[in-house]
Symmetry: C2
Subunit: 153 residues, 2 copies
DNA sequence: CTATGTAGTCAAGCTGCTTGACTAAAACTG
DNA sequence: CAGTTTTAGTCAAGCAGCTTGACTACATAG
């Protein structure tokens, strides 16, 4: 017994490390967004904003991006409409569909999130330096299923 | 406009990259655990097992580890007891408390999870090499709030 | 022009969490 | 050591966010 190589033990807490880092980041950004006055928004909404931002998105597109059912996405849109962050417009190309777009408030919130993210990431990235940052990005990309949960911006 | 430095754009998708990697890992491990016959277990239970494993844990300790209320932790223990993964014993040092420990089935499941994790991580770690792996671990640790969501093993 | 597929919503239900209230035991405190 | 406060755990009720199922309106393929 006790013949398990050290590499394994160290390898096995990579998932915890990753989760821990991701959570710390999300919590930090969320705190920054709240501090900027957007208190009725949760991290999950950020992923929605990322997809809606720019040209807008349909409910189905949003559902795919968030990996939930279209009903769940529709409910989230209801919520965001009620809170004034997004709007439903008739879709220019498809009378069945609706184009969800950010309101001014939604755009302001997105900016706040970007500021908060920069605030959290900048000092860490500075300590790392551009070289290690690039390496980390490459290595993480290799770990992630390509294209999943990526932002549209 | 358009004067935002490139560094910022690249920095801003680090959270997405991290989340994406973490999710891919968790999904992969979960699939491996299911493939080994433990189909009534979800990733969240893995974090519970990690804390219970070894000397065992109380409900309150588990709650702290999972960052939920003690009621939620107690409900999860109910569930795991019903499924045969853990047991409640009287605590040797405190008559109020109960010591939660893994059953044989719980230990087997933990082993399955370690196997699954190794299976997912090994090829990726091999491609990286020990040097970059060490660097990545260091950099992620710097990002994570120290000590959070760490395993006890 | 009919048949099949797709976008979105309504409705009901479930799961996993929360808050609040409580019991029993431990740990302070004067 | 009696009295107070804190801590471990549970019961109960409620809520948020998701699911499945059923449906309407429009699009598209044959």
């Amino acid at each position: 017994m006790c013949q398990t190589p050290v590499v394994n033990r160290e390898l096995l807490d990579v998932p915890f490390l990753l989760l821990s880092a991701a959570r710390a980041l999300v919590d930090g950004i969320d705190a920054g967004v709240r501090a900027r006055g957007f208190t009725d928004i949760r991290p999950a909404h950020g992923y929605a904003f990322a997809r809606i931002s720019g040209t807008g998105a349909t409910v189905v597109q949003l559902a795919e991006h968030l990996d939930v059912t279209k009903q769940a996405a529709s409910q989230m849109v209801d919520d965001l409409v009620r809170k004034g962050y997004v709007e439903r417009h008739p879709h220019p190309d498809d009378a069945r569909a609706k184009l969800i777009t950010l309101t001014a408030r939604g755009i302001a919130c997105t900016r706040a999130a970007e500021e908060a993210a920069t605030e959290v990431l900048e000092p860490w990235a500075a300590r790392l330096g551009p070289q290690r940052l690039a390496a980390l990005r490459t290595d993480l990309t290799g770990l992630a299923t390509p294209g999943r949960l990526r932002p549209t911006w």
